[in-house]
């Protein structure tokens, strides 16, 4: 379950097709908020959004960047690419978490963080992103058409540990691709929804750690409202208030500030107090 009261929760799903997304949309009670250029869904209480990117690397990158801007996603946001894939070495219906992403077009490889895999007992696998549906399956691993594009962008806007690629095997060598219809995909996803929830729960735990690291120290906003600080003074103030909290947890720094003090006098006062 997602802790609704925790202010740091922020999740974005990037999924190619409606059939793949349907169970996620239902499970997390999301509603459509936009139709073009990409269909976008949102939970009304939580900062959780989902975008249908369409098929292919370009669509994946475009949709991820669109959702990033549209939803005003913070740095501390979980990004998940979910969808169906083909594989020669997994069974249809298996849920897999991707630990290496390669592309048929690019040399760089990506490696989602092992922190995201901890304690969930979900099979791990490498992903090969290709430009057209794979039929030959020459290598072990999973084949898709979006993962590489998604990851190449998402890793720039969020910590590595919060970017995950999760897939369900829908086809193997010899599968008649025309028979993988929306209904069949929805069934595959619904059978694994509790495991998908578990992956998200683990990511939310990691998000909480980062949220606490990035949070401004107590009284920072109040002091910045009272006096005008330059950017570099704010950096120093943030540092001093963090140190203040650790050293004098019972002393309110606001009480140290005289009405006529300038920003630099305030910083000097904090610095002097913290010296010993």
């Amino acid at each position: 379950m997602i802790e609704k009261n925790f202010e740091g929760v922020s999740v974005r799903w990037v999924i190619a097709l409606k059939g793949e997304a349907e169970e996620i949309i239902k499970n997390y009670a999301m509603e459509r908020v936009e139709t073009t250029p990409f269909p976008v869904y949102k939970n009304k209480d939580l900062d959780m959004w989902l975008i249908l990117s369409g098929i292919g690397q370009l669509n994946a990158v475009a949709a991820t960047s669109y959702l990033y801007v549209k939803s005003d996603a913070s740095y501390n946001t979980i990004w998940i690419n979910f969808g169906i894939v083909g594989s020669r070495n997994f069974k249809v219906g298996d849920l897999i978490q991707i630990d290496k992403i390669t592309s048929s077009d690019f040399q760089d490889n990506y490696y989602p963080s092992p922190s995201a895999f901890k304690n969930n007992n979900i099979e791990r696998c490498n992903l090969i992103s290709v430009n057209k549906p794979e039929k030959l399956f020459e290598s072990d691993g999973a084949y898709d058409m979006e993962g590489y594009g998604f990851f190449s962008f998402a890793k720039k806007i969020a910590p590595y540990e919060l970017v995950s690629v999760l897939k369900i095997i829908s086809d193997a060598p010899g599968t008649d691709l025309s028979k993988i219809d929306r209904h069949r995909v929805e069934i595959l996803v619904s059978k694994k929804i509790q495991f998908i929830e578990k992956v998200l729960e683990n990511l939310l735990d990691l998000q909480k750690i980062i949220f606490l690291q990035l949070r401004d120290p107590k009284y920072f906003d109040e002091i910045c409202l009272q006096k005008k600080f330059t950017f570099s003074q704010k950096v120093t103030l943030r540092k001093y208030l963090t140190q203040w909290q650790a050293r004098f947890p019972l002393r309110n720094p606001l009480e140290e500030i005289g009405q006529r003090m300038t920003a630099s006098q305030i910083l000097k006062k904090f610095s002097d107090n913290l010296l010993r």
Partner: protein
């Protein structure tokens, strides 16, 4: 312990890589081209990775032996360090590695022979002069010994070069490797130490200070030469009492003649490292005394630093010859 191993394609078939991989039967092994693909990307979170570090096996390509920082040494004029591994099993709050690297994954370079070749060249370059080689700065070599067998390889190697001093800096109490080899006159087992109460808060996952002292005593009795490293010295409310007690406890157990050298230096960081640390440990009282100095280094106020160095020097002189003291700053 490790559930993910990344291995560079170039070394996956080597004996050393296979030997290490075989110690983690349940780990998922993933091939990589170069370690930088996993270790270097920005946007990684060191603290999160520290909860579940992966192991990376790689080949070091260059920079096997590096000059030690200026003012750093234990007597010899020429000082070098080398790192066969980046990152550490322990999780000390003040560790500069978390400010230095993007990743907390353990990175092990398996081509030990290339390091040894470079060390030999360095020794030859210095002809008759004594040279010191430090290890254990970017990792705790001894703590990872069961995995890497690094010290087991390097003790016999340094036994052939008597003019070279080999320092192993550690907090580990693993003494298996020192039981396997005869004591080496040119090898110093140097222990990082701080008062027990501080270590309980700051030296997470590391053995207690009393266990370290016990192990030093064991090694000293076996004939190994011991180094005492009070670096960093940590300022806190009753630091004088705490350090005095620590020194007394050490010298109660270990004879002065077994001590090769004593070094100390106060807590200090480059600015960017410190900012990351403060983000990771906002509630650390120990970090709250540090300030930026005019050289762009974050350290204690000069008066605190001088007072700590002087006090510790005088206290240590009660037990040991001051000619064995070295200041690192």
């Amino acid at each position: 312990m490790v559930d993910t191993i990344y291995v560079e394609d170039e070394i996956i078939g080597t004996k050393k890589a296979q030997e290490i991989i075989s110690k983690f039967r349940h780990a998922k092994v993933t091939s990589i081209k170069r370690f930088g693909e996993v270790f270097n990307p920005s946007n990684q979170n060191f603290r999160i990775q520290k909860t579940n570090p992966a192991l990376i096996l790689a080949k070091k390509q260059k920079g096997f032996v590096l000059d030690a920082p200026k003012g750093f040494g234990i007597g010899d004029q020429d000082n070098y360090y080398f790192s066969h591994m980046y990152n550490c099993l322990y999780d000390c709050s003040y560790c500069f590695l978390q400010g230095m690297y993007n990743s907390a994954n353990y990175l092990v370079f398996v081509n030990f022979h290339d390091y040894q070749n470079e060390i030999v060249k360095t020794i030859k370059r210095h002809k008759e002069k004594k040279v010191t080689f430090f290890t254990g700065y970017d990792c705790d070599s001894l703590a990872m010994e069961p995995i890497t067998n690094f010290i087991n390889d390097f003790i016999p190697f340094f036994s052939r070069y008597k003019k070279a001093l080999f320092e192993i800096r550690t907090k580990s109490i693993n003494n298996t490797v020192f039981r396997k080899h005869d004591p080496l006159a040119n090898c110093i087992v140097a222990y990082s130490l701080m008062p027990e109460a501080l270590a309980q808060i700051l030296d997470k996952k590391a053995p207690s200070v009393s266990a370290r002292i016990k192990n030093m005593k064991y090694l000293a009795n076996k004939g190994w030469r011991i180094g005492l490293r009070f670096d960093p010295l940590i300022y806190c409310n009753n630091w004088k009492d705490q350090y005095a007690e620590l020194f007394a406890n050490i010298f109660k157990e270990i004879k002065e003649e077994n001590i090769h050298s004593v070094s100390f230096g106060s807590l200090r960081f480059p600015k960017s490292f410190f900012n990351k640390l403060l983000q990771y440990y906002p509630n650390s009282e120990e970090l709250s005394f540090l300030r930026s100095n005019d050289k762009g280094i974050i350290s204690y106020d000069q008066s605190i630093e001088n007072e700590m160095n002087e006090y510790c020097r005088l206290e240590l002189m009660k037990y040991s010859d001051a000619r064995k003291f070295f200041y690192c700053g």
